[in-house]
Symmetry: C2
Subunit: 223 residues, 2 copies
């Protein structure tokens, strides 16, 4: 129905997560109708991101290669599938920041979770990005996550506390449980983010699991 | 929170229609995690589409410049804002097809409506793409649409029927009404797509406006 270039564009847009065929068509026509500069800015930002953005060789958070530097081999393909000893040359902003406390590592599933944690301004330690959560249905076992790399950091970096901040869902909980077992023989404290009522939430509308967790994790505030 | 390249990518994605900040972030991280080839294919398809796709100088449907040909000035910016006599060099596949009947013009709002009409395989005439519908709230008057270009086609092309196929909503109906008034003094037939019950629909669930239109447009089938 469409000419080749338009169909290609719709197909490529349709491969993005959360973009169905109708949305892809709508976005394609939007890109065709805006000025050439506006559309090419998107194309350019994709190219630049793929050239500059790599994974931190220490915590696997996203890290940007400084303009002018050669991106190195750390950039390519799925970082998760690369051997841990690969020639990653990049450190992320957080790992480079000398004011951060290297004795506390917060383990998260994805880079975007680092952003969520940073927004709290409550955490001053370092991170470790697993690259997902254990999910047998999707064929993701601990070997597909950066678990080995986490264990390898503990002793050389003198880590004293690992905070498990995986998502409070089945996969995240399974991952936290797995890591707890794995870390229990090491001389460090393992903690997990509290589950409970969201601030500003309504007791009446809380699901029973969340309310159960809130009750289980209740704190003494007086008496 | 993000490094410059990632933030740029999220910002650019967030400018697309129907993509909120969360979706933009999700798509950006998806693009960062897929292979470089996959991500650059999207960037490339945007670039190619903007280079090749132009607007038909006759009906303003999307038209593709043949590879190797110079795209010409027809490609740039908002075609709607270009003067009608501009050096458009491209004709769309439909206007180039000698088997189509040039005496019947179907007027639609957007290029994607042409695709919808073509899918019916019922229409063998030509099109005219207005580039939108009259919408005073959005500041879109008839002068922002390709109405002048439509009027200019009627006499030289020997048009005998104009089918108004604007959307059956307030803006589309207003546009159809405006065009009906404008065309009524010309020696041609003006028709409009029928409104009524969608095929496969349920009388019970039809809204009263649609059902009212279906009643109004009822056809004699016997007696």
């Amino acid at each position: 129905m469409y000419t080749a270039a338009v169909q290609d564009l719709i197909d490529e847009l349709g491969r993005l997560p959360g973009i169905g065929p109708k949305s892809a068509q709508r976005i394609a026509f939007h890109l065709l109708s805006v000025s050439k500069d506006d559309a090419l800015r998107l194309a350019h930002s994709i190219t630049v991101a793929k050239e500059r953005v790599s994974w931190c060789r220490r915590c696997f958070n996203i890290a940007e290669v400084q303009a002018g530097l050669h991106p190195g081999s750390g950039l390519a393909q799925h970082a998760a599938s690369e051997p841990a000893g690969d020639a990653h040359t990049v450190l992320c902003d957080i790992c480079r920041d000398a004011r951060r406390d290297p004795k506390v590592i917060c383990v998260v599933e994805e880079s975007r979770d680092v952003v969520a944690m940073e927004k709290t301004r409550e955490f001053r330690g370092l991170y470790h990005v697993l690259g997902g959560a254990i999910s047998p249905i999707d064929g993701i076992g601990p070997d597909k996550l950066r678990v080995r790399e986490l264990i390898a950091r503990i002793s050389p970096e003198g880590v004293e506390e690992v905070i498990l901040a995986t998502n409070p869902n089945i996969e995240g909980e399974a991952t936290a449980l797995y890591l707890t077992k794995l870390l229990e023989h090491l001389p460090l404290k393992v903690t997990q983010l509290a589950s409970g009522l969201p601030v500003g939430g309504d007791l009446e509308y809380a699901d029973e699991l969340t309310l159960g967790r809130a009750l289980e994790g209740r704190r003494t505030i007086g008496g």
